[in-house]
């Protein structure tokens, strides 16, 4: 059996992948479990592709090896495609139905990727597709999309939902606690419904 449950959270610099991984880390502390994680800092953050590795019950290094992740949470469709090789065959993906086209695509005249073809290229995985923007607005702030995604993925994560919600409350700014707690619950409900599974 694998000694740790390995989650890769991917997105674009500025989308809040680090906060989402902080919530998972904090939840591990609440449940007295060990945890290791790795994140992107510095130049790579500026609107570039970013990744956070989180290893629940991890005891050694923080890096997840491609092909061995237990769960991939992607805040952008293109990033799901970029990092899908971290999952084994038919691995578990929770993805935001959202696509930001990289500026370099326009500048270099590359083919503009579209949602449908990306979803088709992910279809062999065990996919749940979430409309995080809609649920975040419903929770009270478009900025809570990262917590919506975490909620949507939480059914697959071996941490208790009440622990995760407590961790959300501890990690987000004081003024946004209620919005984010609502975002987590809405995300969790959507995840349980398997909302928007393609």
């Amino acid at each position: 059996m694998k000694p740790s449950f390995d989650i890769l959270i991917v997105g674009i610099g500025g989308q809040g992948t680090v906060l989402a991984s902080n919530v998972l880390g904090e939840a591990c502390i609440i449940e007295n479990r060990t945890v290791r994680s790795a994140e992107t800092h510095g130049m790579a953050q500026r609107g570039g592709s970013v990744e956070s590795h989180i290893r629940i019950d991890g005891k050694f290094g923080s890096l997840i090896v491609p092909g061995t992740a237990d769960l991939l949470v992607a805040f952008d469709l293109l990033e799901a495609l970029r990092y899908r090789h971290y999952l084994p065959a038919a691995g578990r993906l929770v993805v935001n139905r959202h696509l930001v086209v990289p500026t370099s695509v326009y500048q270099q005249g590359m083919d503009v990727p579209d949602e449908e073809s990306i979803l088709a290229a992910l279809a062999d995985l065990d996919v749940t597709c979430i409309n995080a923007a809609g649920l975040a607005k419903e929770a009270g702030s478009i900025l809570s999309q990262n917590i919506v995604m975490l909620g949507a993925a939480s059914g697959d994560i071996p941490l208790r939902p009440e622990t995760l919600e407590e961790a959300v409350r501890r990690c987000v700014p004081q003024k946004t606690v209620e919005v984010n707690a609502a975002a987590f619950r809405l995300g969790r409900e959507a995840g349980e419904r398997g909302a928007g599974t393609p």
Partner: protein, 589 residues
């Protein structure tokens, strides 16, 4: 006392508080920056903390504090230690009285760096102890104890975490914040602190005499430890030791190296008990060289046998592959998993509304045949805009520019340098260019902050590390006092004026300085500055693509026609670029 989920650098900063730190200085550099960033805002313990103007300055300030008997830390990234190498080498001779820890963070794979140099080489070069943690917890524990070690031997201690320590998180067991405060007192002792030849010859001998006891102590402290289990062994250092432990079978011996210099007798004893040893470490083969020096009949595998890669960072998968190459079966083998081909890249990019973008745009419009030396900062991303021809190290844009200009190369030279980088090591280059009569344009990209490393204040910001107001310096006055007679300050959001300024600079000779001044769009947003977003009038947009070349991430295209996304920060420069007048502020006709 308390277990918390912390970033490696946060754990390191807390260890400083536990160790009764009195003085901290540093220059920002990924992956080291968060240590001072945590220390400068903490409220648990009063002490002196500063962002210095460069690493040499930080080092000398902290060294002097340690000479006064207080506990001092200085922080930098690995290449920063090159800047501080001059005082580093001789500080080993003078020694210290208060504990002095030099944190130099290495960056295997150069995630955010210009090279993959190894700080452990400097430790060897200077004959100073070096601690090399294998985990976030160990980074915390080692740093807490490093001040004691420094005081015990009267030597600066180099602390060398790597990116995967600094920017990893984990559950960290923390101690209590220290409550002791020392009183600084400089004790006059010219034989110690004035390194004239007569003194330094003696000090060199003293340094060498400290080495045997130092090596023994590092073993006693448990930083270098081993377990013998069979005829085959792995020797690993730093974070690579964690990857080894993840895949190492039970019948293979393991030695973990966490401190240098390595005691040769201890190492020889371990190596001699094995038929075969694999050395696993990131960056240079420092441990491997030591193992090879002690091995008499043991077969040694490592970088020098091609078993472990020299470049980049290691992972559990590369370590498992190295084990297999050395004939050791790892507990796990990893599947071959290649990324999907043809996914459009998403490299980091200058933000929407970044002041560097219009400055680069205007520079290239006016100097179509120019040569563009640049420097280290967010603006190195101007490479994507064709605005960066050289980058080598901090401050080198001006010196490389004047060198090209004075080499006989006839194309115009326009170099770019950020405000913090200009203050770091740019000024001597400007002075030199003027003094020696270079013909060039220097553009200071003045965004009022050290942005790329996480928005640290610098002397140009008008705030100290702790948020106190400081005397705002004048870049214009500095340039003029260096002898530059033509200095123009311009708002880069005002494209017509910016273009005109570049044109006027082009008409002149000698060193000309343009200061493009506008706060970083991220700090502006944080301080509450809100600008109205812009939109494209689809009826006027002809799809000419003029805005495409501007490269702003807020400009997207539906077919040929441009649209502006919610990333728009309202700088409005694209409205000046559009030849059809199709772009305007939201809500205006």
């Amino acid at each position: 006392m308390a277990i918390r989920y912390l970033l490696g650098n946060e754990g390191i900063a807390h260890a400083c508080l536990e160790a009764n730190i009195d003085f901290a200085a540093g220059y920002p550099g990924t992956p080291s920056s968060e240590v001072i960033d945590v220390l400068r805002v903490q409220e648990e313990r009063p002490f002196t903390v500063e962002w210095s103007t460069n690493e040499k300055v930080a080092f000398e300030n902290a060294l002097a504090a340690a000479w006064c008997g207080v506990r001092a830390l200085c922080t930098m990234k690995h290449v920063g230690l090159n800047v501080a190498a001059d005082p580093l080498m001789t500080s080993a001779y003078t020694g210290v009285t208060g504990g002095f820890v030099v944190l130099s963070a290495d960056d295997p794979f150069a995630h955010s760096s210009q090279n993959e140099q190894d700080t452990r080489r400097y430790a060897h070069f200077a004959r100073l102890p070096c601690l090399d943690p294998a985990s976030v917890q160990e980074a915390h524990d080692m740093l807490r104890d490093a001040f004691d070690l420094s005081e015990e031997f009267g030597l600066p201690v180099i602390f060398r975490p790597t990116t995967r320590i600094c920017h990893s998180k984990g559950d960290v067991d923390l101690g209590e914040v220290g409550t002791e405060h020392r009183t600084a007192a400089f004790r006059r002792d010219p034989k110690q602190y004035v390194v004239i030849p007569a003194h330094t010859r003696v000090l060199h001998k003293v340094l060498n005499e400290k080495q045997p006891a130092l090596k023994e102590r590092l073993v006693e402290l448990g930083y270098n430890r081993h377990t013998v289990r069979g005829p085959t062994a792995v020797v690993a250092s730093g974070v690579a030791a964690a990857y080894v432990q993840e895949v190492l079978p039970d019948d293979v011996s393991l030695a973990i190296i966490g401190a240098y210099p390595i005691d040769e007798e201890w190492l020889a004893d371990f190596v001699d008990r094995h038929e075969k040893v694999l050395v696993v470490e990131e960056l240079d083969p420092v441990v491997e060289e030591a193992v090879r020096q002690t091995a008499t009949k043991t077969e040694v595998f490592g970088k020098m046998t091609g078993t472990v890669p020299y470049e980049g960072e290691l992972t559990p998968a590369t370590v498992a592959a190295a084990l297999q190459k050395a004939g050791i079966t790892p507990t796990t083998t990893f599947p071959a998993a290649a990324p999907v081909q043809g996914v459009p890249p998403r490299p980091p990019i200058l933000c929407a509304g970044c002041m560097h973008r219009p400055t680069f745009y205007a520079m290239r419009k006016v100097f179509r045949d120019g040569i563009f030396p640049s420097d280290i900062g967010c603006y190195t991303l101007g490479l994507q805009l064709g605005a960066v021809d050289t980058t080598i190290c901090m401050g080198a844009s001006i010196t490389v520019g004047s060198g090209i200009a004075r080499s006989g190369e006839e194309h115009p030279v326009v170099c770019t340098i950020g405000d913090s980088t200009f203050l770091h090591t740019g000024i001597p280059g400007l002075l030199n260019a003027v003094y020696n009569g270079a013909d060039m344009v220097v553009v200071i990209l003045d965004n009022r902050i050290t942005a790329m490393t996480g928005h640290q204040p610098n002397p140009n910001t008008g705030l100290t590390a702790t948020g106190k107001e400081s005397t705002p310096i004048s870049l214009d006055a500095i340039c003029r006092s260096c002898g530059v007679s033509w200095v123009e300050t311009v708002d880069p959001y005002d494209l017509p004026v910016l273009l005109d300024t570049f044109k006027r600079a082009k008409e002149r000779k000698g060193v000309r300085v343009i200061i493009a001044k506008q706060p970083c769009v991220i700090t502006a947003r944080r301080t509450g500055i809100r600008r109205k977003a812009y939109t494209v009038d689809p009826e006027r947009c002809t799809g000419c693509g003029a805005c495409r070349s501007f490269g702003c991430p807020a400009i997207a295209f539906a077919g040929k026609n441009a649209t502006i996304t919610d990333l728009c920060a309202g700088c409005g420069v694209c409205a000046d670029i559009c030849p059809s007048g199709a772009i305007g502020m939201e809500g205006r006709q």
